[in-house]
Symmetry: C2
Amino acid sequence: MPTSASVLFCCPHLRLTLRLFNAFPFRFRSIRPLCASHASSFTSGDTAVYNSNSLDKGNSIAHKRHGGLEAFSSPTVENVAIDVNPPRGTRDFPPEEMRLRSWLFQNFREVSALFAFEEVDFPVLESEALFIRKAGEEISEQLYNFEDKGGRRVALRPELTPSLARLVIQKGKALPLPVKWFTIGQCWRYERTTRGRRREHYQWNMDIIGVQGVAAEAELIFSIVILFKRLGITSSDVGFKVSSRKVLQAVLQRYSIPEKLFGKVCIIIDKMDKIPKEEIEKELTMLGIPMEAINGLLQILSLKSVPELEEALGSDADAVDDLKDLFLLIEQYGCSNWIQFDASIVRGLAYYTGVVFEGFDRGGKLRAICGGGRYDQLLSKLGGEDLPACGFGFGDAVIFELLKERGLLPELGPKVDYIVLPLDPQLQGAAAMVASTLREKGRSVDLVLENKRLKWVFKHAERINASKLILVGDSEWQRGMVRVKNLCSREESDLPLHELE
Amino acid sequence: MPTSASVLFCCPHLRLTLRLFNAFPFRFRSIRPLCASHASSFTSGDTAVYNSNSLDKGNSIAHKRHGGLEAFSSPTVENVAIDVNPPRGTRDFPPEEMRLRSWLFQNFREVSALFAFEEVDFPVLESEALFIRKAGEEISEQLYNFEDKGGRRVALRPELTPSLARLVIQKGKALPLPVKWFTIGQCWRYERTTRGRRREHYQWNMDIIGVQGVAAEAELIFSIVILFKRLGITSSDVGFKVSSRKVLQAVLQRYSIPEKLFGKVCIIIDKMDKIPKEEIEKELTMLGIPMEAINGLLQILSLKSVPELEEALGSDADAVDDLKDLFLLIEQYGCSNWIQFDASIVRGLAYYTGVVFEGFDRGGKLRAICGGGRYDQLLSKLGGEDLPACGFGFGDAVIFELLKERGLLPELGPKVDYIVLPLDPQLQGAAAMVASTLREKGRSVDLVLENKRLKWVFKHAERINASKLILVGDSEWQRGMVRVKNLCSREESDLPLHELE
């Protein structure tokens, strides 16, 4: 039984246990009818709490043949009515959703392999300390953290990079550089779901550790371009906005702003798209940044071309150097039409130190599709020794919105080679042998496990998209044969077992 | 900063922040030297807390070219020393581990596809209520549960079946039966790690919903046999012990034991291997089972053949029916040598109602490799309507122990088609273009992103197991050519870009 508070309402012929879940005080989250005649459908917010369909059938299906435990199956007060939906902000993946997820992940994996990146993974549960930073990042404030039974502060990972950094520190000199790793993992953030945002998503990360130059950033951006192309997305659908944190740093240095404010300033600037300019100015002022510096900062951040930046910062500025090198490489890659300079891009993670970039949809409706950058100082922040490093995160949420909007979602149905049907329950073993023969040849076989009519089988075959149907009948079987029907051409023939393939 | 207690030791030229983690009171779990000259290696239990190797290099690699942020990289007291290991009882998957995991998962997926099962998944975090049962199961007692920020009781899933049941209830009549689903997911249990057991593992589940007869159980067992065969494991390495919960039920009925004790009796009986017989008797007595019934129970549980069982229970017993049918099917499958009846098998999950089985290693050293059974009444326990159902769970831990012991672990190295090396930093863009051409043809290409010597490149090529090396040199490139070296045959030749494949 759950430990949440329960309230019991009783009436002579209607017994309802109305259970108030702590999670949503004063809202009914789950209801369990003990009397089918009073069953009704309840919803709470976006959550269908009880599927009223499932109340009609009773226990009519179960135990017809294998009776004997009926006494245990009648509803008793010990049975618990659970919310049939996954926890708020999380997803189930029934087959149709899972096929799409697997298709996307397969694309992530194949692109990573083209670039000779190796796959790694880390625990979804990490020490909280790994993720706590003081720069005011959203990601740090929305940690799904708790104390485990041993009193440790732990958290469901909100991102993958700190775990990767931890593993790099752990491996130390045993790890040959450069490291080129990718990960596909679920990440969690506890945020109010009012904006329709979920609390978990899957993220594809690619990281390069041990390379100083922007050839690394170019390689990362190019791998995302290859992914987009595979998915059918063009440079007229999406683009990359690129800048460097060194732009901000140069401005801070110009106005003698203490360097320790760098991370916090970046996090405030990152919110420019979302909150009014006055609010940004106010937050920067509260950090102690003088108005003159704020104006200088905002002016620089409005620049949209590298030549303008060069004019503003001077040609010897590191930021200018990096960005010129990067844009030249991208041009040589033949990807100039995908990329543009935008000084306002700073990204919302405190640890970036150099080039930062994000993928955006040109329609302007969606949040960033992906984002990344250089984080040359994350390792020392976690107690290790620094190594040059860069990487990106690419979530599964926005890309699916984009694919859907552009009509680019593939139609991925089930696909089965054979259905095998025993025409008599006595032939179940024979049918199993037929299935087994085909499976040993690599065919996918749906073996019918119950006594079913042909009509049902044809309908079922259509649903699971089977190519052929094999009927195992007594007279054919005695001659070592089975009947094979091609469900597309409707041809049929009797074949001996060893000729099936 | 983590919220765990910190103790600060100071001395004039040695500043050590010694941090005591709450988790293991009175044991140092993490140490972060801020002064390299006093660095030392600390271990705690099975945990190498600090990798002393990584202390020597200082910040010598980073920022040689892209200076400008050095001021931010010097260690300050704001930097946090994290434990470089994953949380106790959990694993990282560096490339060499990940390759093995992916290989195993690929086998799970391919076998599931041969049997026409569709992949599904559920959130790793579920409502606690989904997993709380009162039968005294280990799995329920070791829940990784906590209260989230919204006050909900949630838990990291300890198993996959309840989530599957939840989704089946949610889908209701929209779900065509039978359902044949598989899942590969991470499961968590919070147990003391003293026995060297981990707190997470991955589990492969296959479930059939909507089929009453034991043809379903046979199909499940046969799919595991196919998996074993693919991994190189034979019936002389492993076998299945099979029984039915209906055996226990028949005995309870014979002695008029209240049916509500069924689940609890099963959980006690399941511990027979692990605790002394006297303890089992004591626990059953405490449940109120009379000694006569206990003796009858233990006698039946010692039976090792279906004919003996038939003699004890009578030929009209459901358990006898089921088991005879199942063994006949398995024989027709040609798998009799894999399977044996063992009345003492009951499995440790309260919800099983019929056939139960487990895969065991004949060497007798390992825990159960996999286990499953029929759970026809789980859906009503969760507030839904019952459907006949069976499934199994197959973890990634014991199978790897077995494969290792038998020398069956595959040697899975990295594999790359090409390394591309620009012989001059000016040719980085040209090299990128070469890499791009090859990737568009589906080749995996490791592009060298820094100015490296040939000696390093050959060593690197060996490490990543590259087949060919492409040198992009100025004079060849001006003629539109690159130098291609076959790293196995040592042959080399100059080729134009479009002839690469």
